[in-house]
């Protein structure tokens, strides 16, 4: 502290007055006058004294005397002017605002500018874009919304949802005071319920109530309780688990829902049909989906498929084990899952398995080993019958295609082939029966390979080899049961295969040991919770799998 600079000398007989709004303009020159500016900031400098007229007895005119006080230097040498004015005028100045007064002015100015900018922002040309809390989510974009936007052109479409946007500031205030709890009831916020609000009415005009979740929802839940709009132009963020659990974790609510569900016809729950999509139908459990639970890994119910030990009702016979075994090879390699289960465009799901795409390359339906080019058409018994009945023509065609041009050679080829066929199948009728109904691989019609293809072809023993073929159809045709291969097995949850490429198929789907069509190869909950649990470290929120509004289940939540 010893090298502190000493405090400079200055006149300490005066007070500092930092509270005054104005200071003498000469202050920055270091010589403020003693009079000082007026409170309104005008210079009041006059002169250093007010001379006083002294008249002695008998004197006519008297004498002006300087009255400058000792503190200010005493009477001046020149003395007052003859007119009685002081000869030492104080130069006038332009008073300056004190620093603090300038700060006050800055505050006022900033407040005024803010007010002006707010007015421009709120009522100017971009008012709606300015006050909007953010872009509307992609869920609320599209043709319908564009139309709605046009129906409220004045408010840039805000009016479609917000009543306040129908009017000016007055309407805003009215809307504000219509809100419950109102602006002056912040104390009610603590106890306020999540019931429907004015805003929700606008949601309801498109989204009819809560029936799109489950018809037995008993609470009127405000949409905004779970959904935040204006959070950016992407998809709406998924609601948090706590929102789901506010009902699903609440025994009373669930019990009420169960009771409500009992009164409804079962058909009321059958609402998840999506055109063009095959869903694996699960029967609604007796109590509906009203079990109380807290989290996925602990008390979420086992998937219904497993809990109710449901089986695949598909009529097609398919043996995953066989197909994955080394007996079946393609290009010298055993088949892999991906040979048939090819991801759909988005990768979340797989392309539907079709005969043409996934079976035909092996199961070519070749009935004549001599002529592997000839194949029974797939798909329709009538077509098969027509094909078989026109076999001579088919052989003739084949001959033509293989380069036989002479009429005699063709006829000879047809007659020869038909003869050989009859030898094997005795008659045309027999051939048709055999093709439709034969299922015994030992009575196979043919084994062969298509020209140019090294891999052996699957044996064609007849339609019944794969299909459920029964006699008794019209015109003596067989009745082939419709193949039902579901596109989606889990209709209440979504599964995105693209997000699970880190695991092998076989880690979840035990296909190698499944010999029967009935086996549903979906993993159970436990294999999910290996990862989807706090221990596994992967998200286990409700929205990871579920969507509340499954009526739009066709939109897989892949963009999240």
């Amino acid at each position: 502290m010893k090298d502190q600079l000493p405090s400079p000398d200055f006149d300490r007989s005066r007070y500092d007055r930092p509270n005054q709004d104005w200071e003498c303009g000469w202050t920055c020159d270091g010589c403020p006058c003693r009079i000082g500016p007026s409170p309104s900031g005008t210079c009041r400098a006059t002169a250093e004294c007010r001379p006083v007229l002294e008249k002695k007895d008998g004197e006519d005119k008297g004498r002006w005397r300087c009255t400058r006080s000792k503190e200010h230097g005493g009477p001046c040498t020149n003395g007052p002017l003859p007119s009685g004015g002081c000869a030492c005028p104080i130069p006038t100045c332009q008073p300056r605002r004190s620093l603090r007064n300038q700060r006050g002015r800055l505050c006022v100015a900033v407040t005024a500018v803010t007010l002006a900018l707010l007015l421009v922002g709120f009522f100017g040309p971009w008012q709606w874009r300015f006050i909007s809390a953010g872009p509307v989510s992609s869920n609320h974009h599209g043709v319908v919304f564009a139309q709605m936007k046009h129906s409220w052109p004045g408010s840039d479409g805000c009016g479609a949802c917000h009543t306040a946007a129908h009017g000016d500031l007055h309407e805003w205030m009215r809307a504000a005071f219509r809100a419950r709890p109102g602006p002056f009831e912040p104390h009610r916020l603590l106890t306020a319920t999540a019931g429907m609000t004015e805003l929700d009415n606008h949601c309801l005009s498109c989204h009819p109530g809560h029936r799109f979740h489950q018809p037995n929802v008993t609470r009127d839940h405000s949409c905004s309780a779970c959904h935040r709009e204006h959070q950016g132009s992407g998809r709406m963020p998924p609601p948090a688990d706590t929102q789901c659990l506010s009902c699903h974790g609440n025994g009373t609510v669930m019990e009420a829902s169960r009771k409500a569900g009992e009164k409804l016809p079962p058909a009321a729950f059958d609402y998840r049909q999506v055109a063009g999509r095959q869903h694996f139908q699960v029967p609604r459990p007796e109590r509906g989906y009203t079990r109380v639970f807290k989290s996925f890994d602990t008390d979420h119910p086992e998937f219904q498929l497993h809990a109710q030990k449901l089986t695949d009702t598909n009529s097609l016979r398919f043996n995953h084990s066989l197909h994955l075994s080394s007996l079946v090879q393609r290009n010298g390699q055993p088949l892999a899952c991906a040979d048939c289960h090819q991801p759909a465009a988005a990768g979340a799901h797989f392309q539907a398995i079709t005969f043409a795409k996934h079976c035909q390359s092996c199961h070519a339906l070749q009935f004549d080993a001599r002529n592997p080019q000839l194949r029974v058409p797939h798909g329709d018994p009538v077509g098969v019958r027509a094909f078989l009945r026109s076999l001579p023509t088919q052989y003739a065609d084949l001959a033509r295609r293989s380069g036989v041009t002479a009429q005699a050679d063709t006829e000879k080829f047809v007659a020869e082939e038909m003869r050989l066929l009859r030898e094997r199948a005795f008659s045309g009728e027999n051939l048709e029966q055999q093709i439709f109904f034969a299922s015994d691989p030992s009575k196979q019609l043919t084994v062969g390979a298509s020209p140019g293809n090294a891999s052996p072809r699957a044996r064609f023993a007849g339609c019944a080899y794969c299909h459920d073929v029964k006699p008794g159809g019209a015109d003596g045709l067989p009745h082939i049961a419709r193949v039902f291969t579901p596109d989606r097995w889990l209709i209440r949850g979504e599964f995105n295969h693209a997000k699970h490429t880190i695991v092998n198929c076989a880690q979840c789907h035990d296909a190698a040991s499944s010999r029967r069509t009935e086996d549903i190869l979906l993993p159970n909950k436990q294999s999910c919770t290996e990862c989807h649990s706090p221990a596994g470290g992967v998200s286990q929120t409700c929205a990871t799998c579920h969507s509340y509004h499954t009526v739009h289940g066709s939109q897989p939540q892949t963009k999240r």
Partner: protein, 274 residues
């Protein structure tokens, strides 16, 4: 344990307790679909009104409303607490709407200026008192004028006494501007002594061309230069200690206005449950 440390611990633990309380309450409410954003908003607004009120509290010191020191402590820690509330209120995400971005920017400005302000308010007085040369801010121009006049007189007198204008020339070239007004604001703020040393070196170099008598004058000038530099130091630091409020307070009013508008908008337009 000194009183300041104890006080910091007390207020710090209060802040921590309030933070923990509000975060746990938030975690509980967040699922219960109540209006937690409204709640945090109102608490935030109420706190901000109280914080703004500190400025008005200072205008009525004669009312026995407790010591300003306590209120400042409240102001600081409640100010920090608004940071917690603010983050909860915006749910930790950068806002998407224009107006909300304006609000956030204003809030951040107030917060940052406040934090900087308290940092310099705590740190700089030590610098000022270590340097010394204490002058009330209002008197700085007067002292500066005294120094300037002394320097001018020295330079002028040296001409007649030493019959040489070396010092007077140096004064005209270098010192006149130095004494004319506040100098080297930024170097003082950042504690850089280069300008002073440069000037003193030049004065020292001058000695080669001076006689004994003139050297005495430069010695006096060196003292004056040091005093003036000390005065500039006081000016720079004291001014900055006042100027940070030129951001903090006006922006606060701006923020409060916008916050009011925000409340109207929220109630008028959102009126949802969150």
């Amino acid at each position: 344990m000194s009183g300041f440390v104890r006080r910091r611990l007390l207020w710090g633990s209060l802040l921590l307790a309030a933070t923990l309380a509000v975060i746990s309450a938030y975690a509980r409410w967040a699922g219960a679909t109540t209006r937690e954003a409204y709640l945090s908003g109102w608490v935030l607004f109420g706190l901000m009104v109280l914080l703004t009120g500190y400025n008005w509290f200072k205008k009525i010191p004669y009312l026995p409303m407790g010591r300003s020191e306590v209120w400042l402590q409240f102001h600081i820690y409640a100010g920090l607490f608004t940071g917690v509330l603010f983050l909860l209120h915006v749910r930790g995400r950068w806002p998407t709407g224009w107006f909300e971005i304006v609000l956030t920017v204003l809030y951040v400005l107030v917060m940052v200026s406040g934090v900087l302000g308290i940092l310099i308010s705590r740190g700089w007085p030590k610098r000022l008192s270590a340097r010394g040369g204490e002058v009330p801010f209002e008197r700085i121009p007067i002292v500066r004028r005294q120094l300037r006049e002394q320097a001018e007189a020295l330079a002028l007198n040296s001409v007649a006494e030493a019959r040489s204008a070396t010092i007077a020339e140096f004064h005209a070239r270098r010192l006149h501007a130095f004494f004319a007004g506040p100098q080297n604001f930024l170097s003082h703020v950042f504690e850089i002594r280069l300008p002073l040393n440069a000037l003193l070196n030049e004065l020292g170099d001058l000695n080669r061309f001076l006689n004994e008598q003139e050297r005495k004058v430069t010695a006096q000038l060196v003292t004056l230069v040091r005093q003036k530099d000390g005065l500039d130091y006081q000016h720079a630091l004291q001014l900055t200690l006042r100027l940070w409020l030129f951001i903090h307070i006006p922006v606060t009013y701006s923020l409060m206005l916008c916050a009011l508008a925000h409340i109207v908008l929220v109630y008028g337009f959102s009126a949802g449950v969150r």
